[in-house]
């Protein structure tokens, strides 16, 4: 058992944190957000230069071959800086599908573009009626000569409005809530029949509702096996949750730091408010949640890339429950301890609160994952 980062991991952490510290202050973020795509192309290119966009891909596919710990390091740093760029959507989600299910041709045509920043992708895996159940797929893909024709509506596609290419889940057989019969297709973002309604999300990022109407794709658009996409989707989703947990920990860390700064500098009744025990204990509650979240994120990162789907799912769900609960506690305490200024758009703390609240929702909130964990008999069983 070893909790230390290797030398390379330490260097990765330093370099990402330094880049963001220099160029991703709260004011800079505001400017990036006001741009056309809602994020910074310049930063995106710098992530590419640092190798971050190539990080999780295998070396033979043009990547760097980073593992769960590397992703955790990067996502945590991104959380601290509250970045807006579509790293999660393109590298973690779409990239995850390609890593686990892409054939060699798909990998060799797409991964180099993702890795050098020229191609941004999105994963259209959710639907309006499905809530958090990604197997609830009503979008259909029907055989059309050699290829397929896709019809349906995908919901809350993260960065779906600006993505060059989409990976779309669609049903090729079975009923709308069957785990079997789901397939994944590569669809050009501007293909005929694709209409994208982009919008900002509460946390300042972007998403889109995407309608596919008689969208024709070739046989080579199928990613993975026909009808056999569910294990891929659930695996990518589990890895994505681990990455989100790490991002949340970065946010929590910053929220705690900002709150402590405020407690130490804000003066009332002739003294700094951090001298009041009632407030000290609330700051400690935040600290405890932060450390418990960090512990669970390490645990989930370790198991999220494992091959046993049940063990992986248990660990990831447990971590997401912790993160969701901690997001509520840390968020409410951070705002409360800041008082009125915590309510303002111009101050950073509220933006962290909004992002962590959205992270709770993404890929299943605490209630969803608690139910999932309970159905899998929890973490402590006779055999474990």
């Amino acid at each position: 058992m070893d909790f230390d980062l290797s030398e390379e991991q330490g260097m990765l952490k330093d370099s990402v944190e330094r880049l963001l510290k220099d160029q991703y202050g709260f004011e800079a973020r505001g400017k990036y957000r006001a741009g056309d795509t809602g994020f910074s192309e310049k930063m995106w290119n710098q992530y590419a230069e640092l190798g971050l966009l190539a990080l999780p891909f295998a070396e033979e596919d043009g990547g760097i071959g980073g593992g769960a710990t590397e992703t955790m390091i990067v996502m945590e740093a991104f959380g601290k800086a509250l970045i807006l760029e579509p790293y999660f959507a393109s590298v973690i989600l779409a990239g995850g599908v390609l890593r686990h299910a892409g054939n060699s041709e798909q990998k060799s045509t797409l991964i180099p573009g993702i890795a050098d920043g020229s191609l941004r992708m999105a994963f259209a895996c959710a639907e309006p009626q499905g809530r958090y159940d990604l197997f609830d797929v009503e979008t259909t893909a029907k055989k059309n000569g050699d290829g397929w024709v896709i019809d349906g509506k995908k919901a809350l596609v993260l960065h779906g409005d600006s993505a060059g290419k989409l990976i779309v889940s669609a049903r090729t057989s079975g009923g709308s809530r069957d785990e079997d019969g789901i397939s994944l297709f590569l669809v050009d973002g501007n293909a005929e029949g694709v209409s994208r309604h982009g919008y900002p999300t509460q946390d300042g990022l972007r998403a889109a509702e995407i309608t596919l109407q008689s969208v024709k794709v070739g046989a080579d658009a199928l990613i993975g096996s026909e009808g056999g996409a569910w294990p891929v989707i659930s695996r990518v989703s589990d890895e994505a949750v681990a990455a989100l947990c790490a991002e949340a920990v970065g946010c929590f860390e910053k929220m705690h730091e900002l709150t402590l700064d405020y407690l130490k500098t804000r003066s009332q009744f002739g003294t700094t408010i951090g001298s009041f025990q009632a407030l000290q204990h609330r700051a400690v509650d935040m600290f405890v949640e932060l450390e418990q979240s960090r512990s669970m994120t390490m645990y989930a990162s370790m198991l999220a890339t494992g091959d046993d789907p049940v063990e992986r799912a248990r660990a990831v769900s447990a971590a997401k429950v912790q993160i969701g609960e901690s997001a509520k506690i840390i968020g409410r305490e951070a705002i409360q301890l800041h008082g009125g200024v915590g309510m303002t758009m111009e101050y950073a703390i509220g933006h962290y609160f909004k992002r962590t609240t959205m992270i709770d929702i993404l890929f299943g909130d605490a209630n969803h994952h608690l139910k999932r964990l309970a159905q899998m008999d929890g973490l402590i069983r006779e055999d474990a």
Binding site: M1, D2, F3, D4, L5, S6, Q9, T69, L260, L263, K264, G274, S275, Q277, Q280, H281, A283, V284, D285, F287, V288, E291, Q292, S293, S295, M296, M298, Y299, M302, A318, V321, Q322, L370, K371, L373, A374, Q375, G378, L379, I380, R381, E382
Partner: protein, 400 residues
């Protein structure tokens, strides 16, 4: 970073697990499973078994009988013991006064006391709290006045756990009444058979008698029983309380209790179905399991960091272990109350005694549940209340 146990650690886990299962007398295990208190004889028996194996004090320095295990192995050892479930070695000896003696005591004290702690030939209890000194421990008033080669001790200690069995008590006493309150305290080892000591039991709300008041009336203690330097006792006490926090998370105890909860809930029927099959109950249990897993990982992080820390210093983050560990222990007894339902009501203190002939009222495990629930309120109070732990974190980590 690799959070999995190594091959070596896994092999070690199997070794201790097998040994505990085979070496622990079945009757001792059954008593714990049934929620009964472990008796003095049982704990002595178990300690001697561990001692014969060379495992009675694994965390001590090798020259005093320790094993030289890594912190992770020590953790595995404690975890496996509580999940057997076997009784924990008497903390007052092996975790509290033992480390104080081998760290700050003189050679005579080491050779006199340490071997008898390891075998539980001497049962130790802790004389820290006083009626007027709980969280504000340094305000303690029990006086020790030097008279030739002896100290004369007068005063009162309280919450003295299992003092009714004790051969010795380690005490914080005031030797300099004029110094600032932390500076006038000394650490004294007192033979419980000394004339002038009176032990009065305190019955707690669960009906049990774990704690006592201990009165000192002109108790004469040889000066050779002073540990370290006079008036430096507060430093030794802080060291001791820090050690106490490392073992206070009780992850293994809570794990074992959750297994028990699931097992019992599989036999309880509610509205025609098994309680364990009810989604809302399963979710309540799962929520506690999540917090417990987070605690376990935090515990391991603290342990892994310990190897790199200066000897004798404590990771302030270990305060988290106390806070979360106690909350989770309390949550598990709340779940037990949920499981037992109405048959938590009968108050049958005799059920704490093994081998009682009377048939039980309700399920034979039911009557110990409510007492366990009441008793477990103590865990967020003792060893520095959770509010004191928060003060420590606020000051030492957050800089408030």
């Amino acid at each position: 970073m690799d959070l999995r146990f190594t091959e070596d650690e896994l092999a070690f886990r199997d070794e201790v697990r097998t040994f505990f299962r085979e070496a622990l007398p079945a009757s001792i295990r059954e008593n714990i499973v049934a929620g009964r208190h472990t008796t003095k004889e049982e704990l002595v028996t178990w300690t001697r078994i561990l001692h014969d194996k060379g495992w009675a004090v694994p965390h001590w320095p090798v020259e005093h009988g320790g094993t030289g295990w890594s912190p992770v192995k020590q953790y595995i050892y404690l975890e496996e013991m509580s999940q057997t479930p076997a009784p924990a070695p008497l903390a007052f000896g092996v975790n509290m006064v033992g480390p104080v003696i081998y760290t700050f005591g003189n050679e005579a004290q080491k050779s006199r006391f340490l071997p008898r702690i390891a075998t539980l030939e001497d049962w130790w209890c802790q004389g820290f709290s006083e009626p007027g000194s709980g969280s504000d421990l340094a305000s303690l008033k029990t006086r020790a006045v030097r008279d030739g080669d002896e100290y004369v001790v007068n005063g009162q200690k309280t919450w003295t756990t299992l003092a009714q069995y004790a051969d010795w008590i380690f005490c914080l006493v005031r030797t300099d009444p004029d110094a600032r309150k932390q500076s006038g305290i000394s650490f004294l080892l007192i033979d419980m058979k000394t004339p002038g000591i009176t032990v009065r039991p305190i019955q707690t709300i669960d009906g049990g008698v774990e704690v006592n008041e201990v009165f000192f009336d002109d108790v004469r203690v040889p000066v050779e029983n002073l540990v370290g330097e006079e008036n430096k006792g507060w430093n030794y006490a802080k060291f001791l309380l820090g050690n106490e926090r490392v073992n206070i998370a009780r992850v293994g105890v809570s794990k074992e209790r959750i297994r028990r909860i699931k097992e019992l809930a599989a036999h309880q029927r509610v509205g025609g179905e098994r309680m364990i099959d009810q989604p809302e109950f399963r979710e309540k249990v799962a929520a506690v399991e999540v917090r417990l897993k987070a605690l376990e990982m935090t515990q391991l992080r603290v342990l892994a960091g310990e190897a790199k820390r200066e000897k004798g210093t404590q990771d302030p983050a270990s305060s988290i272990l106390k806070i979360k560990g106690s909350e989770i222990q309390q949550a598990t007894t709340e779940l037990l109350m949920d499981v037992v339902g109405p048959y938590a009501m009968p108050y049958i203190p005799e059920d704490d005694i093994d081998g009682r002939n009377e048939p039980s009222i309700g399920p034979d495990w039911a009557s110990t549940i409510a007492p366990a629930y009441f008793n477990t309120r103590k865990v967020s109070i003792y060893g520095g209340s959770n509010e004191i732990q928060k003060n420590i974190i606020a000051k030492a980590i957050l800089g408030l």
